[in-house]
Every structure is written in C-alpha cells, then in structure tokens.
C-alpha cells in the first residue's frame, strides 16, 4: 500500500458513487412542490388545524381555506406541532384526532388535526399570544370568501393554522409547499465529475502498481528503453 494507491482507491470509490448517484438523479431527483387538500365536516366546538414542521428545508407554504368562519395562524414555532397540540390541553383545547405525514423528499412533516375547544377559546387565541409566547394572528377573509395564508418555513420551525368552520358546511382546505433555495448541480455534470474522479483514481492506483500487458511488465520494459538499459530482447 502506498499513499497514491489509497488516494486512488478512495477517488475511484467517490467517483463511482457520484456516477451512479447522477444516473439516479436524472430520473428520481425531487423538485416538485407538495400539494395536499381535503374537506372536513366540523361539529360544534370542534376546529381543524393544518400544521407543518420543517426538518431540513426552507420554503413557502400557502394555505387556502373555504367555508370557514374564522382562521387563525401561528408561525415560526420552534417545536414539532404534534407535541404542541398535546400541550394545548392546558388552555382547554383538547386534541381529538390527528393525521400527520413525514414527506422525506421535502424534509417536512405536515398534517391535520381536529381539536375540541369552545369557539370562544379559539377566537381568543390572539389575545393569549403573550401567555403562549406565540404570535397568533387572525387571517383576513378575501373578497371571494376564502382565506389565504402565506407562511415561510425554515428548518426546525413549524406553523399551525386554526380553522373554525361554519355550521352545516364542510370546511375545505388546500396546502401547497414549495421548497426555495434547494439548488443542486446538474446530474450529468455530477456523473461527468464522477467519471473524471474514477479516471484520476485509476491513474494514481495503477501508477504505483506494476502494469502488465500479456504477462509482461510494461513499465519496466519502457523504463528499460527510455533509460537506455539493454532490453532482454536486445
């Protein structure tokens, strides 16, 4: 083992993995935004919560809500909303059911929950901002009767949108999350750089080992010719 054979081996391993990863990236690289939605019929004293927690990506989330009477939102939470929803029981906001999904490709956890709480408590959430140490805001209703909330998410932060429904009408929501600033090098460029690394690694590796061609040591033979040493064959 010489330093150049070790470096050669490691460069070949790195290059080969980049070639293969580049090939995978051409077909399976993730770029598309996350889109989710649904409708929920809410009984009296129940509210819907749409929440998202980012583990690795910066992005912009847009939440659109139809048929709601009031919408409140809180952003820049430094905790997982799944555990926060449980801790809201202190304020008589009890978690009834929840469904969260981990979207590994985008590095986020998102989902919905139904909380049982008096509508007056939900309506009073902005007033509890100082107690909860969250900045809870009320969303403004648009001219078409919908509520649109745009929120920025960064790794380690979360947002929650509290939706109070109208009696007799199911609440509809739509969530779109677009990752921003996640820019990769082109997959072809990665494969090409991997190929170059394999080439350099192979040269380094072979340069310190006897190169044989049809059983004959080529390097020794070449050295014999260049250095003027007499060849065995004359």
């Amino acid at each position: 083992m010489t330093p150049s054979t070790v470096i050669g081996r490691l460069l070949m391993a790195l290059g080969l993995s980049l070639i293969l990863a580049g090939l995978v990236g051409v077909n399976y690289a993730q770029t598309s935004p996350l889109e989710a939605g649904g409708s929920q019929f809410l009984e009296e004293n129940y509210s819907l919560v749409v929440a998202m927690y980012s583990m690795s990506s910066n992005g912009t989330a847009v939440v659109k809500v139809w048929n709601a009477s009031q919408v409140f939102y809180v952003s820049d939470l430094l905790a997982d909303p799944r555990s926060l929803l449980h801790s809201l029981s202190t304020f008589n906001i009890n978690l009834s059911q929840s469904s969260f999904q981990h979207v590994f490709r985008l590095g986020v956890v998102y989902g919905t929950a139904i909380v049982k709480a008096n509508r007056q408590i939900i309506s009073a959430l902005p007033g509890l901002s100082t107690v909860l140490k969250f900045n809870i805001r009320q969303a403004q209703r648009g001219p078409d009767g919908t509520y649109t909330v745009t929120l920025h998410v960064r790794p380690g932060t979360a947002f929650m949108v509290f939706i109070v429904g109208r009696e007799g009408v199911p609440v509809r929501y739509y969530l779109k999350y677009q990752v921003v600033g996640a820019e990769r090098l082109d997959s072809t460029l990665i494969s090409a750089s991997g190929l170059a690394l394999v080439g350099v690694g192979a040269v380094l590796y072979r340069s310190m080992r006897p190169v044989t061609l049809l059983g004959e040591n080529v390097i020794r033979r070449l050295r014999g010719r260049v250095g003027g040493r007499p060849s065995r064959r004359g």
Partner: protein, 250 residues
C-alpha cells in the same frame, strides 16, 4: 525524536486498517447512499444538508470503528504484534499516537469526510451559500466520530481481546445513544437539565442547533453543552495515550 518515526509506524499500521476490499466497499456504500439521499431529499441550507446526510454515516462509522479498529487494536495485543511495534526505536507515547492515528483518526476521518465531499459536490450552490454552517456541522460529526473511536480504543486496550473489545464497544455505543434518547424524551422543557444533558451528548446536534437557532431560543445550546464532547474527546485521547505509555502491560 521527531514525528517521522511515529508517522512511519502509523503508515505501516494503516495498511491493515484500510485493507481492501472491506474499507473500499464501506466508503463506496456510504458515499453512494449519501449521494442518493441528496437526490431524493431537498435541502436549502448547508447545515441541514450536513446533518441529514452525515447522521446515518456516523452510525456506520461508529460500528466500523468498534468492530474493525478497536477489534483490530485488541487483535494486535492478542497476537503480540503490539510488542513488535513497541520494540521499534520509538517512545511508548509515539506508538500510542501512531496507533490512534492509524486506527481511529485516519479511518474515522475518511469515512465521515468522503460522503460529506459527495454531498457538497451535489449541493455545491447551497454549500457555497452556507459554507460556515456546512463546515461547522461536518466538524461536529468528525469530533463525535473521534469521541466514539477513542473510547473504543481505550476499551480495546483494557480488554486486550478482539472479540470482547468489539462487543463491549458496541454495548457502550448503544447504551450511550439510548441514554441520550431517554434523556431527550423525558425532558419536559428545553431548559430542563435532562434536555441539556442529551444535547451535550450529541456534539453534532448541539452544533446544528447553535448554527440554526436564533439567539435567545431555548433550543440554542450554551457553552457547556457545546464543549462537553470535544473536551471529553481530548481527555479520552490523552488518557488512552497515557494508559498505553505508563500502565499498559501486553
């Protein structure tokens, strides 16, 4: 005595630690998997890229250091090869330093660094924009890997048996991580002592939270949590060298 002789011994011993094809296969697998993770998940900051790519790599590195490096070190003792090393015109501290370099620092550093290089190449624009964050979290993983590796080396020197050294190192590794997990789980608030202890046990996580959390955030670690693992690594490294130099009997 200069550094030349210990480095020559480290170089000699490194040929055993980096023996192909096991090390090459592991490097390839870890680098390939890290590169794949880069494609199937989107990252917009260098720190989160390093955290997500290197977390599984650290587990594999720790297992390699426990089984191959610590086990190999104990094998040197059981086959009396270490006595041959100690017969070289070198001080015992020189031999200890050379062995730590070839058994822990060299392979551990390479196993953590190559996947990081692959990830940095793929996400070059993101890493360029957040180079400090990427390098800080990468350094966090490097120190954590050295912490595990040096502890395993100390276990190997104490047990003197390759099988026992590997198993004891694995028990230590899983107990340490399980204890960190339990401490984090039972923590009621980020300001609780148990949460701070769990944060202090994972240097890379503490560095990540220090880089990403704004000042004043309860999740941002203090100086004590940040320095616990690096200081422990330094102490265990010195203890290993001193143990081999003063008290070790082959």
């Amino acid at each position: 005595m200069g550094l030349r002789r210990p480095l020559m011994l480290a170089y000699l011993d490194l040929s055993d630690t980096l023996k192909p094809p096991v090390f090459d296969l592991l490097v390839f697998t870890l680098t390939f998997m890290s590169a794949i993770v880069c494609y199937i998940q989107l990252y917009s900051s260098g720190s989160s890229l390093a955290l997500n790519v290197l977390s599984p790599v650290l587990v594999a590195t720790a297992l390699y250091l426990a089984l191959r490096s610590a086990g190999g070190l104990a094998f040197l003792i059981s086959t009396r090869s270490l006595e041959v090393y100690m017969a070289y015109p070198l001080s015992r501290r020189g031999v200890a330093g050379a062995l730590l370099l070839s058994r822990v620092i060299g392979p551990g550093g390479l196993l953590i660094s190559l996947p990081a290089v692959a990830a940095a190449l793929i996400y070059l624009p993101v890493v360029r924009a957040d180079l400090e964050g990427f390098l800080a979290v990468y350094a966090g993983f490097l120190v954590q890997a050295l912490f595990y590796g040096l502890t395993f080396a100390l276990i190997a020197l104490a047990s003197k048996n390759s099988g026992s050294a590997g198993i004891l190192s694995l028990i230590y590794y899983f107990t340490y991580n399980l204890a960190g997990f339990i401490l984090a789980t039972i923590s009621s608030t980020p300001s609780s002592l148990t949460f701070k202890a769990s944060q202090a046990m994972s240097f890379y996580l503490a560095v990540y939270q220090w880089v990403t959390m704004p000042p004043g955030s309860p999740l941002r670690p203090g100086l004590g949590e940040l320095l616990a693992v690096p200081l422990a690594t330094l102490a265990i490294g010195l203890l290993t060298v001193e143990y081999l130099a003063r008290w070790f009997e082959p």
